[in-house]
């Protein structure tokens, strides 16, 4: 396959940045999208040019590190996959492909396609946990039966990989799906109930502090989420948040 790549280049946070064009040849259908970028980078390094900086690690769709906006879609065409799981068989010879970083004021660009998603860690630190210390004498894991449907729904929410596709996709740059996934997971489980109110308030407060936008129910996040996390979790978070805000001391 012969392709034309239009890639966002930005040397650092203070650089204005621009799209640059790279023709590329010899791309095979079995290659993953990131392997195609590897091929380009190998070529650039041989020419003594600066290779494209991009985040990636596990390359099997679970670490959440890869983050490319491809042809106007977070993680490119296809549903339920990350950029690293996107294969070149989805493109055809002669295609022009546009590749940009996640764009959100809360995810500043570090270089080229690499952005800073530290805001997600700070939201997590604000309340995305059950306050339990490592304990040598806990009750048995089976002492607290959890209904299978609750456990399964909690699991669905817990599959969030924190990649930020929801933010990049949202016209408002909202992080509601990310935050809701954690709030919802823990509020569905009895272990998470005791501090459910506190958690919802603290995580939402931190989310707002980080400058993420509000949710206006466009649902784009759910469509682009590589783990297909449902909007219903946002509804659950809103319920938790409302209840917490109304009964706040």
């Amino acid at each position: 396959m012969k392709l034309t790549l239009k890639i966002w280049r930005q040397s650092g946070p203070n650089d204005k940045g621009r799209m640059e064009t790279y023709p590329i040849d010899g791309i095979e259908e079995d290659m993953s999208f990131l392997e195609m970028i590897d091929v380009l980078n190998l070529q650039l390094v041989r020419e003594g040019k600066d290779p494209i900086a991009f985040d990636h690690d596990c390359r099997e769709g679970i670490c959440g590190m890869c983050s490319m906006f491809i042809n106007g879609e977070a993680h490119g065409p296809g549903r339920g996959i990350t950029t690293c799981q996107l294969h070149m068989r989805r493109f055809k010879d002669g295609d022009t492909i546009f590749i940009e970083p996640w764009r959100s004021g809360s995810f500043p660009v570090i270089k080229d396609l690499v952005v800073d998603r530290g805001a997600f860690d700070r939201i997590q630190a604000a309340g995305g946990f059950v306050s339990v210390n490592t304990n040598g004498n806990l009750v048995d894991g089976n002492a607290l039966p959890i209904a299978k449907d609750h456990a399964d729904t909690a699991f669905d929410a817990a599959t969030c990989i924190g990649c930020g596709a929801c933010v990049a996709t949202c016209p408002n740059g909202s992080a509601m799906l990310f935050v809701a996934a954690k709030v919802s997971q823990l509020s569905l489980l009895p272990q998470g109930r005791p501090e459910a109110k506190q958690r919802a308030l603290a995580m939402v407060e931190q989310m707002d502090k980080e400058g993420f936008g509000n949710c206006s129910n466009t649902g784009a996040c759910e469509v682009e989420c590589p783990k297909e996390i449902s909007l219903e979790h946002i509804a659950r978070m809103n319920r938790e948040y409302m209840a917490a805000a109304m009964t706040k001391e």
Partner: protein
Amino acid sequence: MTQLDSKVPDGPLEQKWTKHKNSIRVVNPANKRRIDVIVVGTGLAGASAAASLAELGYNVKTFCFQDSPRRAHSIAAQGGINAAKNYQNDNDSTYRLFYDTIKGGDYRAREGNVYRLAEVSANIIDQCVAQGVPFARDYGGLLDNRSFGGVLVSRTFYARGQTGQQLLLGAYSALMRQVGTGKVQQFSRHEMLDVVIVDGKARGIIARDLITGRIERHGAHAVLLCTGGYGNVFFLSTNAMGSNVTAAWKAHKRGAFMANPCYTQIHPTCIPVSGDHQSKLTLMSESLRNDGRIWVPKKKEDAEAVRAGTKKGVDIPEEDRDYYLERRYPSFGNLVPRDVASRAAKERCDAGFGVNKTGEAVYLDFSSAIERYGRTEASVRKIEDPSTEEIIRLGRDVVSAKYGNLFDMYANIAGENPYERPMKIYPAVHYTMGGLWVDYNLQTTVPGLYALGEANFSDHGANRLGASALMQGLADGYFVIPYTIGDHLAADIRTGPIDTERQEFSDAERAVRERIDKLIEVQGSTPVDVFHKRLGKVMWDKCGMARNAEGLQQAIQEIRQIREEFWKDVRVTGTANAFNQELEKAGRVADFLELGELMCKDALERQESCGGHFREEYQTEDGEALRNDTDFTYAAAWEWTGDPGGSNLHKEDLDYQFVKPTQRSYK
């Protein structure tokens, strides 16, 4: 020769850990506030250790090279985590988990450590449940189990095919809670490039801020390396792209012995290589072997036709299929340990029965499972005389509920529907049992320097059983290090903060800067990845699933050659004081180029076959690994002497007091 003291207490197995805990020192809560601990790596071992130590009151700094601690490669573990809960009433026990692990490790692990691992395994499940980890549950609301290779009980807890993710996110949430309280300072996009030794003790690290390129000094009273394994020395592995040996290797060069580096786990069920562009390999969870049956065609002409594309696997009739694991190992069948399953696949493919273009693939087939589940489901739903299509449809739903995400992953990568056609799989590098030598306290040969999780060598011997890596990482982090580190730190309650202006820090920092400059100054013509691929090929061909003396000797020469060319001709673009991914890779590959030689040397020295280490010269008549317990019942701990070829061997004799080593049989 340094005396290697394992510090395993004597006495009965089941009392060792209790006895040890009772005899080691404890730091009082007020003094813990005066003590700093550095944790490098934030996977299961690192995150659980950091959170637990911070909860105890220590001041903790954590470092990871990824953009968030949640991305560590533990996240990719699929199948599950073992624990001796005996929830299934199938005669499981602490002893049985201990015994299975020792046997699975081909009698090359330390009894005391392994028993402790089994002992704390049940606590891990309780801890994770308390954190809100959504383990799979049955309709009664209780925790569900599945089976893994090399065992006869069902003791694996799981969260669909994403157990590692759920456990890591649990540990990460505990870690972030401590970040929130200020007890942990987290440094993302930071890479440790050296450990600093002061008066013989580990007192800090030199790290590079990967965004700015700034070299930083961090002091502490103890340093924990939780930096995972070194499978990427093979270039192609199931490890994440960034997984590397650098932290462990720098520690090795500062005096920490490297133990059993040749013990590599080749996982039997991975998606086969599709071409030269391949950057990594993807694992298909071992849990698939619960229901999938592995086979190749019985007739060579069928295999040839499949490779030529003129025949499909589904067209080969039942009687012409060779379910070689069931044939060779009737008692364990498809659930033999990983090393055995991998070698058996290689044996069939080498003999000409492989089933993809390259001839290096075997089938993993779910058709009988789909039928079996379909029948059960039809009977549950009271469907009388169900048609074949109906049975298959019902069966597919059951299989999808169990393994759906794995099937999707396969379909996406291989471009084939695994519900309709058998999957093609082949072994790939997955885990390294070798690692930094540690004693019972998880302390390396450098006082104050600890290694946890895959980074150490301690619990899996020559072969790790499935679902035991998660168990070990969390055991080390939650339940071992919080106790054992006190014994070392009790001496530091009056030490005060470590002064990073000391000469030792300046020297280490200078060495780090010089090495970075040297990498950039080569200004050769060949990209880093090219050297990495060359090294990987040598390692895979000559120090992979099967090794022999001649090949290993050649490999050593070839690695030296690649190393020499690397330092003459590598091209690292960009500068040291900026975000520079080529520079990051170059530093890691330079370390792999030294480690690779040590692995070959270790493999050459071990003149026996055991677990993942298969020396062709040492096998039984029917091709099974042939151990030599008289001469090799030891852990090989290598001491750095200045060049990778000249390392000194120290032996820790493994004294089997409770289990009698026998020829491993899964027949």
